[in-house]
Symmetry: C2
Subunit: 236 residues, 2 copies
Amino acid sequence: MATLYLIPVPLGPVSPDACLPPDTLAVARRLDHFVVERAKTARVHLKAMGHPQPMQALKFEELNEHTPATAIPQLLAPLKAGHDVGLLSEAGCPAVADPGAALVLAAHRENIPVVPLIGPSSILLALMASGLGGQRFAFHGYLPAREPERSQAIRELERTARREQATQLFIETPYRSAALLDALAGVLSPETYVSVGADLSLPGQLIRTRSARSWRGQAETIKDRLVVFGIGSQAP
Amino acid sequence: MATLYLIPVPLGPVSPDACLPPDTLAVARRLDHFVVERAKTARVHLKAMGHPQPMQALKFEELNEHTPATAIPQLLAPLKAGHDVGLLSEAGCPAVADPGAALVLAAHRENIPVVPLIGPSSILLALMASGLGGQRFAFHGYLPAREPERSQAIRELERTARREQATQLFIETPYRSAALLDALAGVLSPETYVSVGADLSLPGQLIRTRSARSWRGQAETIKDRLVVFGIGSQAP
């Protein structure tokens, strides 16, 4: 039966040959039907991954924030016709913090086999590198951009981190990263740990876990960088 | 400055050459100091990864559930002496749901650089493959083994999944997997989604997301298998 493969791609401009396992590359190279967040980026990824066919010979369907829910079922048509399909997101692992999950769930509803492949995830790399412990953890996506909602959300995450002994992860768009780190340094208890994972797996990667107090005045370090943040209340 | 590398290993008896990226293998092969969950398994992993040195020439320190917190700082000694160190867990990514996180945090406290490498994580593969959406998610480790605590925990996870629109992930030891799936099928609302990821990235991998109702009487499917479970309240 045709299978929906979930194909991770690099987290930025680095060679897929170095950061993806051979099994992942082998599947990506043999498929000719893809559902992707954006066709243009997907072509760049597949070319870099050494796909043997010319890009115009491959079939791309887009699934992104503009795709209505009603359009999802027809994306399964190639699978029902017997073609394996690869799902790619813009960066990292598909169906994690991107619209691809809807296609995966639709495949399950139709009993279509789903196979996730191994590759980079900024959330997982940030969690590993934080030292804050992964016995329990949660990922929250984006925090509110405005005050006082942002500070309220930060305090709530700190309470959850303490109560459940669980690392709380979240992301921010590059142009707001420094402002969020300033807010964390100011709002959290001075001894609460804040981990920063910037440009993970890329050149210039910055990884640091410090107390909220130690981050005060340090926000410039991550200005305009893609960051996964973590909050932890104590040693794991 | 010497660096603490976090080195993922395969999730079971498959070739590291197929499931680990070349960059991860290259780092593992050039190190000679390791902190590992169990030395015996680590030697098997490193040999399979093609480490060029005889295993008895490598230095292994153990860090596991028996290691007292007071013993952690001395594990940093090779790093302070200028040797890069690799951290390995029994399977998958180190410092996620294993005791290695304490060493990573100790390294941060001493300003020792930490570099996480790319590789397989059963939690992340389960999340991708579930189709339950990763915009928000949480991992809870093990649920209570006994009733009524287990059913209470299941109901609480369902409430959280609904309230926060967040996938709730958890694991169980193989010999209790079938009993937990029975409990999920019986305790959850019939329409709540339950995802099962068994033996992920290994031969015989089983991946399925169904309504709680559809899982009734199906627990034998995962008897004695290593499973990551997920609960989701609706389409992402």
